[in-house]
Amino acid sequence: MIDNPKKLLIIDDEFDIVFYARKIYEKKGFLTFGADNGLTAVEIFKREKPDITLIDIHMPFSPIDGIEVLRRIKEIDRNAICIMFSRVTEKQKIEESKKLGADGYLLKPVDIEDLDRIIYEFVK
């Protein structure tokens, strides 16, 4: 077990995405948390204060979407590192998330190598 592992919160309304992304980053030594809806995600954020939060913008099954999750997280901690998962067609939402202080974004479908690159950029 790594001392003081970095905390990673993964938010996506697709169970498989959260489940396997958590498994992947647990193997890489992170302490991971997952949420499949925005409200739970904000609660986990308050409680765990993750080092990095990955947020899916488009979550039709969540009471609040990824943009609202980002807004609430940045209200809690404006220095929180948030990386957005977005669809290539969501240019407006990408712009909106940048204005709210998102630290990066990845286009879906997400390639693990790209995800690694952006995560390790922030945990260096």
């Binding site: 193997k27 290539v88 067609t89 693990i112």
Partner: protein
């Protein structure tokens, strides 16, 4: 399969009633290239289910390769700048109806995302091991969901 959009039935009803269609050249790329990639993944997974054996990680890398083709197609047809460089047969001004964009990008992105994440888990250097039967089934379900979506769109848009 990907969670349905909240208003998905309504969107499909609109496609039928308003006779919304997809440019034939875009449809051919979408249907044929994505179709070929999901067929390859489907066959690979089905074989290992048939013999009731876990899918070796080297084969799982093939799944990732095919999933990347789907990713390129989706990003290509939805991104004006990339469209012509990736698919010279398309003109920059070919537009897709927003309803089609909403449905296709949501479903194919999410299902492909799941296929990539599951396969990546078993092919990464941290956890290089065969994909167990239960997860092969999950990948197979995602390929079937993409195929079903394409067929549903074909029927709704009248593209035969």
């Amino acid at each position: 399969m990907a969670n349905p959009l909240n208003n998905e039935e309504e969107l499909f009803r609109k496609i039928r009633e308003e006779k919304i269609t997809i440019d034939r050249k875009i449809w051919d790329i979408l249907y044929n290239r994505v179709g070929d990639a999901i067929s390859a993944i489907n066959l690979l997974c089905s074989y290992y289910l048939t013999i009731n054996e876990p899918l070796p990680p080297k084969k799982a890398r093939k799944i990732l390769k095919h999933a990347n083709v789907i990713k390129k197609v989706i990003h290509g047809i939805f991104t004006t700048k990339r469209k012509v460089s990736l698919f010279p047969e398309l003109r920059e001004d070919i537009k897709l109806h927003p309803i089609i964009i909403e449905i296709v990008s949501h479903h194919i992105n999410n299902d492909t995302n799941a296929i990539m994440i599951i396969s990546s888990f078993y092919t990464g250097k941290d956890f290089f091991k065969p994909i167990p039967i239960e997860d092969i089934k999950k990948i197979l379900d995602r390929t079937k969901a993409i195929k079903d979506l394409l067929e549903r769109l074909k029927e709704a848009t009248g593209l035969v």
